[in-house]
Symmetry: C2
Subunit: 375 residues, 2 copies
């Protein structure tokens, strides 16, 4: 087990994942030929091996790794499972197909010949193996052709190509484009962008308010949502729009610990999947509301208040202690003010002023007035 | 309280909901002028007032109704809440806007002047009032301009107009069209249909398998999913495609009580929202799998088995007792066989044969071979 100073992990381009799996396989074969114990080096995915990098602005995985050996009674099964999942993933890449983590589980599950031993008992065994493989060959899950459940939608000033089809996101009616799980450049290419920024909303219902009021047209932007905590496809797309289209990303979420957490995942990455931050996180994302100070700022009434419960208070204090919030004066003020308020507020509560207050006054003012930005 | 024989509820066209709310309001004003106790007649939404109509093939609400009076200590608050929600809904209709049930809650919530009394304490108070209003004025929620959270997507041989935008669902890449909550004819109009049927899938991940394998193109169909139990928008769209485009609707779900339940909701309507069945249910929908007999039929291995737990067994027995399954020999055989099997099977388990077995062999065979249909 070694530990080196954290550096940003480098990812290679399309098609590379397959090559790296092959290399891994070759090293195992070589070990066998040289009568050495075959081993797979798996970087450790645990709190003990992550760090917040002030410079890049996101959570990163350290360089602690653990060998997984075939000739070790405690590691042999996981070793073989990793090789098995690796071979299934290689088949996917070679055939140009993709599969869900559940489909991978069924693809890889079988009874070992001549025994009653199953390769996997259930999916809770195969999921971590997929994550192990991701870090072992330093590839995003999407590059391994593995997809997660999709959630979230997009509408706005963007034309892009998805699997050969050109999609003009200004002409998608009220429904919008369902953001898939895999949005890598070999699937989605940006063509024409008339947007000045991206506005990400927490919930489908709030997003519909903005779509119905044609906010994207009036303010020349792209509207996305992730139905709660944004899934991988949405986060990756936000990152790509930010990087490749040079668009600022604004985030409008509920004034509650869950909203803060979602913001933090979009911006710094999630603790569980720290190894993906360098491809998913948007450190420049800006939180534009709802803010704990809005109650006074917008002269709101008691009708918008939802009392904090014990769990909210606990979560808020945890979030306040995150290295990326700790010591940031505006965020400390923001979260402490919520705790002092004793209540939380939802974006939808702005309806209590008027149905379209949030699209006609609140959001435009927050985006325009940099003083309101939290970062 | 009266009870008449159940007849199919008749709904009127677009714009009518506003007129009916106005009528309701006028009757209240008239009562006041005539010094009568103002009352709103609310059909009862409870098990005691629903019935399965063998002829139409769906669950229907009976004609039991309850008066809600202003001058009744126990009813006055709910009377006033109903009028309040009615007035907010009328504003929505008049302004051509829509709102979520949460937004309605915030729109209608206020402290009554000169008191500390709030019109609504929380959303659990306003949601049933919206449902009361739906049945009182005999309009779908969507006609009242109220939307639910959206879920689900569509790809396939259909061109339609959504809010003025023409969308060709054969050119939506891998993402697809995110099905909105309101899909009424004033929002969505079908233009060109090259599909021979609709195939509805339970989960996003299975849907992606079909999309990636371009099933819709090979078999000339429309693919939808509802991310679990399909939300209102998806159900209504299935119904409209069935009615207006004359397309058979096939449903491919997991072989478990939850899959049976989803099928039953698509086909007969849900018990809670029986009053909507006549606009949402698709009595002609056909269940094409997964079936309890598939284990032997397709020579599957133990790897596809997921043991039934006590709750599965309980739910299966409940479903077996539903009037629309009871006495149907194929369904009785199907559910009893699952109980005898002692295990359930997911659509994704078909991957254990090969990744695309479900799209290349299973589904085409099930659709072609009417012998396999359950209805």
């Amino acid at each position: 087990m070694t530990r080196k100073p954290t550096t940003s992990r480098k990812h290679k381009g399309k098609g590379e994942a397959g090559v790296r799996i092959e290399k891994l396989a070759q090293s195992i074969v070589d070990s066998a030929h040289h009568r050495r114990d075959p081993t797979i080096n798996v970087p450790i995915r645990a709190l003990s091996n992550i760090e917040f990098n002030e410079k890049t602005g996101y959570i990163e995985m350290g360089d602690k790794a653990q060998g997984r050996n075939l000739f070790n009674y405690g590691q042999a099964k996981r070793f073989m499972q990793t090789v098995l999942v690796g071979s299934k993933v290689k088949e996917l890449i070679d055939s140009g197909k993709t599969a869900s983590i559940r489909q991978i589980y069924y693809l890889a599950k079988h009874t070992i010949k001549g025994t009653h031993e199953k390769t996997f008992e259930d999916q809770s065994e195969s999921d971590p193996i997929i994550e192990d493989l991701e870090v072992a060959v330093d590839s995003l899950r999407e590059e391994l052709h593995v997809f997660a459940a999709g959630r979230g939608a997009l509408i706005g000033e963007l034309t892009f190509v998805d699997t050969g089809d050109t999609i003009d996101a200004t002409h998608l009616g009220s429904g919008g484009y369902a953001i898939p799980s895999i949005v890598e450049p070999d699937v989605i290419q940006f063509k024409k962008c008339g947007a000045k920024f991206v506005l990400h909303l927490e919930k489908d219902t709030v997003w519909r308010r903005f779509v119905e009021d044609r906010f994207w047209e009036k303010h020349k932007c792209i509207l996305t949502h992730g139905n709660g905590q944004p899934p991988r496809g949405v986060r990756r797309l936000l990152r790509r729009m930010h990087d490749e289209l040079k668009l600022p990303v604004f985030v409008l979420l509920d004034n509650d610990p869950w909203g803060y957490y979602i913001y933090s995942v979009i911006k710094q990455g999630s603790i569980n999947l720290a190894y993906e931050s360098s491809r998913m996180a948007v450190p420049d994302a800006r939180y534009i509301g709802v803010s704990s100070f809005d109650f006074e700022r917008y002269d709101l009434t008691d009708n918008v208040k939802i009392e904090l419960d014990a769990n909210d208070v606990k979560r808020a204090k945890q979030i306040l202690a995150y290295p990326w919030f700790k010591g940031k004066r505006p965020w400390e003020r923001e979260i402490k003010k919520m705790l002092r308020n004793g209540f939380k507020m939802e974006v939808e509560a702005m309806c209590s002023k008027s149905l379209s207050f949030v699209t006609e006054e609140y959001a435009p003012e927050r985006i325009k007035n940099k003083k309101f930005w939290l970062d």
